[in-house]
């Protein structure tokens, strides 16, 4: 990490300002629902697309080994598929990675 503290603060404030404006402007100005079906659909899909792009393949590089990360990913996908909650899925992924990294050390 090479960024200086003033730069980190500046980034933080830019992030905060943009995020706030996006939330605030429509809440203060717009009083009528959006009519365009395309824009409504687009906004509806955006969170899925963002989270998908952010999670994969980045998740594979979030631990010490790609193999332990893959194990964690597999466990989280299976648990999420069977409807487990956020916390359960995340903790299970962490435990899986922890165990997998110990196994990798023994190999």
């Amino acid at each position: 990490m090479t960024q200086s503290i003033p730069m980190l603060i500046l980034y933080t404030l830019v992030m905060a300002g943009v995020t706030y404006l996006i939330r605030m402007v429509p809440l203060v100005l717009i009083r009528h629902p959006i009519k365009s079906r395309f824009i409504k659909s687009f906004l509806y899909y955006v969170p899925y697309a963002v989270l998908g792009a952010m999670t994969f393949p980045a998740i594979l590089y979030s631990t010490s080994h790609i193999a332990s990360a893959a194990a964690g990913l597999l466990v989280s996908v299976v648990l999420a598929f069977f409807g487990r909650g956020l916390l359960t899925v995340a903790v299970s992924a962490c435990v899986t990675v922890y165990v997998a990294e110990w196994i990798l050390l023994l190999l």
């Binding site: 730069m7 899925y48 963002v50 998908g52």
Partner: protein, 263 residues
């Protein structure tokens, strides 16, 4: 329907707080993971706390964190935040229809600051209109939970052994998986949008030339293309969108966790 004139501010405020506590508890774990991730990328704990206290959004903060540690341009940061947080614009439009007369203009400035996916979902799910005191009560526990979780996570990461830290690095992604998989299971369109975004993201990671594009733009490109394809080929039915705000809250992926924590 509980209207402002039939209840005193105190009881409305407390009712909001009661509804906000489960959200705040749910946020503790997510922001804990954010705090750990931030420190692992070399960001000081107090900066991580500052980010959480000024941004109050999960996906936007993580993307911003990735960008700030590599030293992106400010334009890239602004664009990324715009795309990732674009959904809040829709939520804010929808929420503005939900306010009763007690919500003044200056209240809107304050409520907008904490209009997260889950706050939006709970407020929208209320029968009838909601007033300012209920909303003030509703936003406090999530804000406290979000900030406290970040602080605890970023401080804990200095204490925990390296093997545990490596394992915790996957936590925030595990949460994202838990958010997107259930709706993708029930909606083929959502699954295709998700799959398309993942494929594009892989292409930008592994293919020559494409892998020189910076990570901020990768998220923007993947999100816009995948969501636009979804909107063109599988437009959302009218009744699923702003006609009934409560409906969105159940459909929206990031609100999925609210169903569990708030029920």
């Amino acid at each position: 329907m509980i209207q402002e004139q039939f209840s005193n501010p105190r009881s409305l405020f407390l009712r909001g707080m009661r509804d906000g506590v489960p959200i705040g508890l749910g946020y503790l774990s997510v922001s804990f993971a954010f705090g750990i991730t931030a420190v692992s990328r070399g960001v000081p704990a107090w900066i991580a706390l500052l980010i959480s206290m000024t941004n109050v959004t999960s996906a936007g903060q993580l993307a911003g964190l990735d960008l700030m540690v590599i030293g992106c341009t400010m334009g890239e940061m602004i664009l990324t935040q715009c795309v990732i947080n674009m959904r809040y614009a829709l939520m804010s439009v929808s929420l503005s229809q939900k306010f009763d007369k007690s919500v003044r203009l200056c209240d809107r400035f304050l409520i907008a600051f904490c209009n997260t996916d889950e706050v939006f979902a709970v407020a929208s799910g209320q029968p009838g209109l909601v007033g300012r005191w209920y909303l003030f009560g509703l936003i406090i526990p999530p804000y406290v939970g979000w900030s406290a979780g970040t602080l605890i996570g970023s401080v804990a990461s200095g204490i925990l052994p390296e093997s545990v830290m490596a394992a915790l690095g996957i936590a925030i992604y595990g949460m994202f998986v838990a958010i997107v998989i259930p709706p993708a299971k029930t909606s083929r369109a959502v699954a295709l949008v998700l799959g398309g975004a993942v494929l594009m993201s892989c292409a930008f990671r592994y293919l020559p030339v494409l892998n020189t594009v910076s990570s901020g733009f990768v998220i923007i490109i993947c999100a816009i293309v995948a969501a636009a394809l979804g909107a063109v080929f599988a437009p959302v039915q009218e009744e699923e969108t702003t006609e009934n705000p409560a409906e969105i809250s159940q459909e929206a992926p990031v609100s999925g966790e609210t169903g569990e924590v708030s029920k």
